[in-house]
Symmetry: C2
Subunit: 268 residues, 2 copies
């Protein structure tokens, strides 16, 4: 799911970006797209399962920091932007039935129901802008790739049927950069905050960095340390366990872009 070499819109023009996504002209990942805006992971569930899932997010704030929860049946997300329609404004959706991934598609208007509740969960793309502005290079951004994500052996705290491993995103950094990255991302608790691990991947159950469970692999150089952040794809692993009759998510990396600026989320 690499970005096409020619952008079909001005990267900084939010209305143009949203229109391109809404009209199905942008169906790829959104790393580096409208990068001063808050992007979010999306989980849509029927009201019954939504109540369990809300408790799951409350108990697991590092992978599942909630930016917004919609009213049941409501397709607009007014706290995140003036004109966000959850049925059309995610570049690529995943449709899950009974915990199985059924299909990916670019809009979900015909699937909408009055009992569906939308959850928008903070995304590491928000702190990536702050890392880049702090002078760090992120290899997956430089290479136009999606970030590498892995299922770790760190369990989430269960709520109702939702449980499973914490999914982590990984960025290779030199030691001094990793220290700076802890400082920078600590300011953003609503988008996963500080890393949850660094160094030896096997200590968190990851045995081959070249084979991510989601996203694209990037090289880790000999003088670099892999640094791991809790990831908003964690709910997708929990959905596999919970097997709700219907669930709709974003495709990993293809996020909902909101009107909010990343700088609005900084805690100090």
């Amino acid at each position: 799911m690499n970005a096409p070499s020619t952008q079909i819109f001005s990267n900084t023009d939010l209305p143009a970006v949203r229109q391109a996504i809404r009209q199905g002209r942008w169906t790829s990942h959104t790393s580096g797209v409208a990068q001063d805006r808050v992007q979010g992971n999306v989980v849509i569930l029927p009201e019954c399962e939504a109540n369990d899932f809300l408790r799951f997010c409350q108990r697991n704030p590092k992978p599942c920091p909630l930016l917004a929860v919609s009213e049941p049946g409501e397709t607009m997300l007014p706290t995140l932007g003036q004109d966000i329609d959850i049925c059309t404004d995610v570049p690529m959706y995943r449709i899950w039935r009974d915990g199985e991934l059924l299909e990916e598609r670019a809009e979900i208007t015909d699937l909408w129901r009055d009992d569906l509740v939308t959850f928008v969960i903070g995304c590491s793309f928000s702190f990536e802008q702050a890392l880049i502005e702090a002078g760090l290079r992120l290899r997956h951004v430089d290479q136009g790739k999606n970030v590498a994500m892995y299922r770790s052996n760190m369990p989430t705290l269960a709520a109702g049927p939702f449980h499973g491993p914490t999914v982590v995103s990984m960025r290779p950094l030199k030691a001094a950069e990793a220290i700076r990255a802890v400082q920078v991302t600590s300011r953003f608790p609503r988008v996963h905050g500080a890393p949850i691990h660094l160094g030896d991947p096997s200590l968190i159950g990851i045995h081959d960095l070249s084979k991510p469970d989601y996203g694209d692999a990037v090289e880790v150089l000999p003088d670099e340390i892999p640094v791991f952040w809790a990831c908003g794809v964690t709910p997708q692993a929990a959905i596999r366990q919970a097997r709700p009759p219907l669930c709709i998510t974003h495709a990993p990396g293809a996020m909902l872009i909101t009107d909010l600026f990343n700088s609005q989320l900084a805690s100090f």
Copy 2:
């Protein structure tokens, strides 16, 4: 230089601690002694060399964060405490002539001169209290040892004759603790602040952690990462290079204890 098993004063009674040091009854390291108070590294130089050394500290704020600089010839340090006499209140002094370590002794009253200037430099013991209060265990504290210190291959920025390697202190921590330690120590820029390296010691020129250049070795367990902070012993390495006719320092780990509380140094 391990602490004796029986303390000769109440650890929290600052006047008693200072009297014990002043009277030569405490000549050991001060790790864990009066641990809510700011402790400082000490460098005393003739006025001529002091001017160069002041620029050295300004250029190397991570290893040499200045807490106080005395007037020439003045033995009291009023900005650090009501009754601090630099001639008697360091547990153990080192006397350097022409860059060579000549002797260690418990007071320097007979060496004092009207042209001597005292520098007090922040010490990692200040942030160790904050780390312990954050729930971290520090092995050297648990074992009653002095912290392990190493000459790295990271050069300082020279000023006049002062130059040399950055000396670092090392504490082994699990990854999640190392991340927490970056957060906690970032709040204390006047006492070295965040670590300057973590992980592979050879990347900063340290090839055997079991052989520290100063202080005591501690074990690094397989699931731990060595975490390195810039250290206030760095000036002692620079003094070896600069070879001033006279220089007086503290012995590594045997610090000047001030009246200030560590919590007064927290930046937010």
